[in-house]
């Protein structure tokens, strides 16, 4: 790995935020960290960009000015216009006048914000705010782009725009790490890290995680939960049999990525 976390541990007060977490992040590739609320996703990124200190482990990161970082809840000034946000960020990154306006124009065009240059950041829709925040983090052409849940609560149309922007950044050579709660976004990555309660449940290429599902997955019907290791999928149930023996009435199916993620979470639950 070029950038990323290597066996990082972080305690916050009495709680363990990260219990030996490894997240590889490489140039021209997208790493996606998947997990729910409280999994430790934000802590990972805060350690990576240097906002949070690791108690142990190794953090590989470029110089601070070569990093672009968008936290989950901010990333722009609500009471500045789009143009003012761009100008302010460009000044903070000490971009020269020509470089500044070229890059800002490019970002405004890429994010579809051309018609909104004079609107206040806080008046933009949620999706547009996230696009602007990512755009601001790209102004100085960072080597490492770090995005905390850029698409949570964002509608699918804006999400598609954001992912096109994120992918284009990786294709351009940057190392990109993105956290998400949407499992289908993990399938876009070169490398996926499944995080739960500060621990890595599984990591690797999406296809390797998919092929690594132990035992068998089946579909069952009925009102009652067929086995303790079952979950709802639409009107039917998915059943996981770790040893491969599905209960009567369950029809085996090849697991998809959502199944793989849930199996990893179930396998990592306390008591198993």
């Amino acid at each position: 790995m070029i950038w990323g976390l290597d066996d990082v541990r972080v305690r916050r007060g009495r709680n363990v935020a990260l219990a030996g977490v490894t997240v590889p992040v490489d140039p021209s590739r997208i790493t996606v960290v998947v997990g729910g609320d409280g999994a430790g996703k934000s802590s990972c990124l805060e350690v990576l960009v240097g906002l949070l200190e690791a108690d142990s482990g190794i953090v590989h990161r470029p110089a601070k000015e070569r990093i672009g970082y968008v936290p989950a809840t901010a990333g722009l000034y609500a009471d500045l216009t789009v143009q003012e946000n761009l100008d302010f960020s460009a000044a903070a990154y000490r971009l020269s006048g020509r470089e500044r306006s070229q890059k800002a124009d490019q970002i405004v065009e890429r994010t579809g914000l051309a018609g909104a240059r004079h609107r206040l950041g806080g008046q933009l829709s949620g999706g547009m705010q996230r696009k602007l925040a990512v755009g601001l983090a790209l102004l100085h052409s960072p080597e490492l782009l770090v995005l905390d849940e850029p698409t949570t609560g964002v509608d699918p149309v804006s999400r598609a725009d954001l992912w096109r922007l994120i992918s284009a950044t990786a294709v351009d050579g940057a190392a990109v790490v993105v956290t998400t709660t949407y499992v289908n976004e993990a399938a876009r990555a070169a490398c996926v890290v499944l995080l739960e309660a500060g621990k890595v449940l599984a990591a690797g290429a999406p296809e390797d995680i998919l092929h690594g599902v132990p035992g068998a997955i089946g579909i069952a019907h009925g009102a009652d939960r067929p086995t303790p290791l079952s979950w709802r999928r639409g009107a039917s149930w998915r059943v996981w049999a770790p040893a491969g023996r599905l209960p009567d009435g369950a029809r085996p199916v090849p697991p998809d990525f959502e199944d793989a993620v849930i199996v990893a979470a179930l396998a990592g639950e306390p008591g198993r």
Binding site: G36, D37, G153, V157, S158, W163, E196
Partner: protein, 287 residues
């Protein structure tokens, strides 16, 4: 009566702006209906019409056969995006307050959330707050359940557990209306309704919504170059690992790539629900 909620030509205007426009929609017993739309499509305003928090400017809204009222509200469970809990009250206090508001004697806090009963809601993690909001909304055994983005920010296993609750309610006969931006979750609904700019533009199962829409799936060794080329030429290209997926004309995609000397296989494959939704909502793409 099979129909729990019904909108006929329902519209809502705010001054000159029409936010909900001539919506026809029915929610029946024991079915889970997914309401999909981009931000600003009118989903939340439509929900407020159903709840009786707003009156339609035109058309008719009926809940259990009559216009929304306090009496119908007692038969509806609602979880707003903001969860609707009192952050400064404990879980148990939220529970008994809701019971009092619905004029029911408070049963004990259910098992799933009783571990937190003495904690302030505001101090709980978001996932736990969602479970509490869901349990509170179900506490009066509503016949109709309305959930506005119930799983936003929730991890995969937490989402599966919430859906178990949703399905359990439906199997007991409740009708459920759920909004979501998560298309995998949308596929779990029995029926989907797609809103664009206040109007219903499609209704049906996920397969019916997708219809015969396709995308071009591109595999090539130089996927980096292929992505950059298609992106620069205005194609709505998406990167999935090392595979490119492009909505639009596959011949144009293949032509552009071969013209640039990129050796690629281009295959026309069925769109997924997310791709179909984006195509339906977004302006016509290049190519």
């Amino acid at each position: 009566m099979d129909i729990l909620a019904e909108a006929r030509g329902a519209s809502r205007r705010f001054g000159p702006v029409t936010v909900v426009s001539a919506v026809d929609l029915v929610i029946r017993r024991a079915e889970v209906v997914g309401l999909l739309g981009a931000n600003g499509a009118g989903k939340t305003t439509f929900i407020r019409l159903l709840l009786g928090l707003l009156r339609p400017s035109d058309g008719v809204i009926k809940l259990f056969g009559s216009p929304p009222s306090i009496a119908t509200r007692r038969r509806v469970g609602y979880v707003p995006q903001t969860l609707g809990l009192y952050a400064g009250l404990t879980v148990a206090e939220n529970w008994s307050f809701t019971a009092a508001a619905f004029r029911r004697s408070a049963a004990s806090v259910p098992e799933g959330i009783s571990g937190w009963q003495h904690e302030l809601v505001g101090g709980l993690p978001l996932g736990a707050q969602r479970q509490v909001a869901f349990a509170v909304a179900l506490s009066h055994q509503p016949e109709l359940l309305i959930l506005d983005e119930p799983t936003s920010g929730v991890g995969p296993l937490g989402r599966a557990r919430l859906w178990e609750g949703i399905r359990q309610s439906a199997s007991r006969g409740a009708g459920v209306l759920v909004t979501t931006h998560n298309m995998e979750e949308a596929e779990q609904c029995d029926r989907l309704v797609v809103m664009v700019a206040g109007r219903v533009v499609a209704q049906g199962t996920a397969a019916e919504i997708i219809g015969d829409r396709t995308v071009a799936e591109v595999r090539c060794d130089e996927w980096n170059r292929g992505f950059a080329l298609l992106d620069a030429n205005g194609f709505p290209v998406q990167l999935h690992g090392k595979t490119l997926r492009v909505a639009g004309n596959s011949a144009a995609v293949a032509g552009l790539l071969s013209g640039a000397g990129i050796d690629a296989t281009v295959e026309v494959v069925p769109a997924d629900l997310e791709e179909a939704f984006v195509a339906m909502v977004a302006k016509p793409a290049a190519g």
